[in-house]
């Protein structure tokens, strides 16, 4: 699984290197290719959206309206024994790369819990996918509306 991801990373680097012509270096670095949610799911989970099983065991805590997309607090917990879980994946649908993070758990964690602050490019769903050791993919989503602020 990991080696496959590494491979993909290398592949990506390769593509960038191939497109390098003088003058476009910056651009190639600055604008990684946009990726759809489906593509990100495929890369990280080898799955499609329809493989995800919606589950109310996963709880996502995030603001409904975000006053800044740069700093959205996300707390994820799940009511499943941690030793049955392989990893937690977080995706944000509308980001240029929807994959946000992967958390690999161990029984020492005691509970399935993870919290962080993430960037959201615009209003979109934040998804949590739990990859269980038996291969099932449990998922939950919460929409966060991103707004602008300030008196300009």
């Amino acid at each position: 699984m990991i080696s496959r991801r590494e491979l993909l990373k290398f592949a990506a680097v390769g593509t960038i290197a191939l497109t390098l012509v003088p003058g476009t270096l910056g651009e190639a670095l600055a604008a990684p290719k946009d990726m759809s949610l489906e593509e990100a799911l495929k890369e990280h989970l080898g799955a499609t959206l329809s493989d995800l099983k919606e589950s109310d065991l996963i709880h996502i805590k995030a603001p409904t309206i975000a006053e800044s997309g740069a700093n959205v607090p996300v707390q994820i917990s799940a009511n499943v024994p941690v030793d049955q879980v392989e990893a937690l994946y977080i995706f944000a649908d509308a980001n240029f790369n929807p994959w946000v993070t992967t958390v690999e758990f161990s029984p020492l964690n005691g509970e399935v819990f993870f919290a962080t602050r993430i960037k959201l490019a615009k209003t979109s769903k934040v998804r949590a996918v739990l990859k269980m050791k038996d291969g099932t993919l449990l998922a939950a989503a919460k929409e966060v509306k991103v707004t602008v602020g300030g008196c300009g």
């Binding site: 509306k145 991103v146 707004t147 602008v148 602020g149 300030g150 008196c151 300009g152």
Partner: protein
């Protein structure tokens, strides 16, 4: 020292009032590209302190009148005179108060592509309007359905150009008076606000 500052502020204010007309007209020509001679600027580079002091001294006499803890017209100043003097500063665009470029009006009001952002109009900072724009302030009244309220577009124009001609010392900036928006730009905003197809009125 203090009275001197006040006097300077007062004079500067009068100067500003007197100078308003040509300034507004200059701003009215949108594509005028007049490059000021740079030599004069280079000669003396003012210190930040000097620049800020000058900026504060630009306070006009009406701003000075409103600079009290209530931020309202103080006693001793006649509101009607205040209003009339403000009304006299309003310049109308040759094409009338309903502009032609509704799209530009929308952008100045608050660009829906940027979540309602617009540095110059920035109406959403204080008003709600287009239901798509969630981040809207509640300092001013909601402008939803504004075009259906039977308000004369000329009154809308005056309110935006110089809100103090309607309500002296209002918190709403006098956007046309100070040249933040040109008469044409205000007319486009008015057109956007009164357009039956505008998201405000749908």
């Amino acid at each position: 020292m203090k009275s001197a500052v006040v006097a300077v502020a007062f004079l500067a204010g009068i100067g500003l009032l007197a100078g308003c007309q040509p300034a507004a007209q200059k701003a009215a020509a949108p594509k005028e590209k007049k490059v000021e001679p740079k030599k004069a600027e280079k000669k003396k580079k003012k210190s930040a302190t000097e620049r800020f002091r000058t900026a504060l001294a630009n306070q006009d006499k009406w701003q000075k009148a409103c600079s009290n803890p209530n931020q309202l017209v103080p006693e001793g100043i006649d509101v009607e005179t205040f209003r009339k003097e403000m009304l006299a500063t309003v310049k109308f665009p040759p094409g009338g108060v309903l502009g032609k470029d509704v799209k530009r009006g929308e952008k100045l009001f608050g660009d829906p592509k940027k979540g309602g952002r617009s540095r110059r109009g920035n109406c959403y900072a204080c008003h709600c309007g287009d239901p798509q724009i969630l981040a809207c302030g509640n300092i001013g009244p909601s402008l939803r359905g504004y075009g259906k309220r039977g308000i004369d577009p000329k009154d809308t124009y005056i309110k935006i150009y110089n809100s103090w001609a309607v309500v002296p010392c209002s918190v709403m900036p006098r956007l046309g008076y100070h040249g933040v928006l040109t008469p044409e730009e205000i007319a486009d905003i008015v057109a956007y606000m009164h357009d039956p197809n505008s998201p405000l009125n749908k």
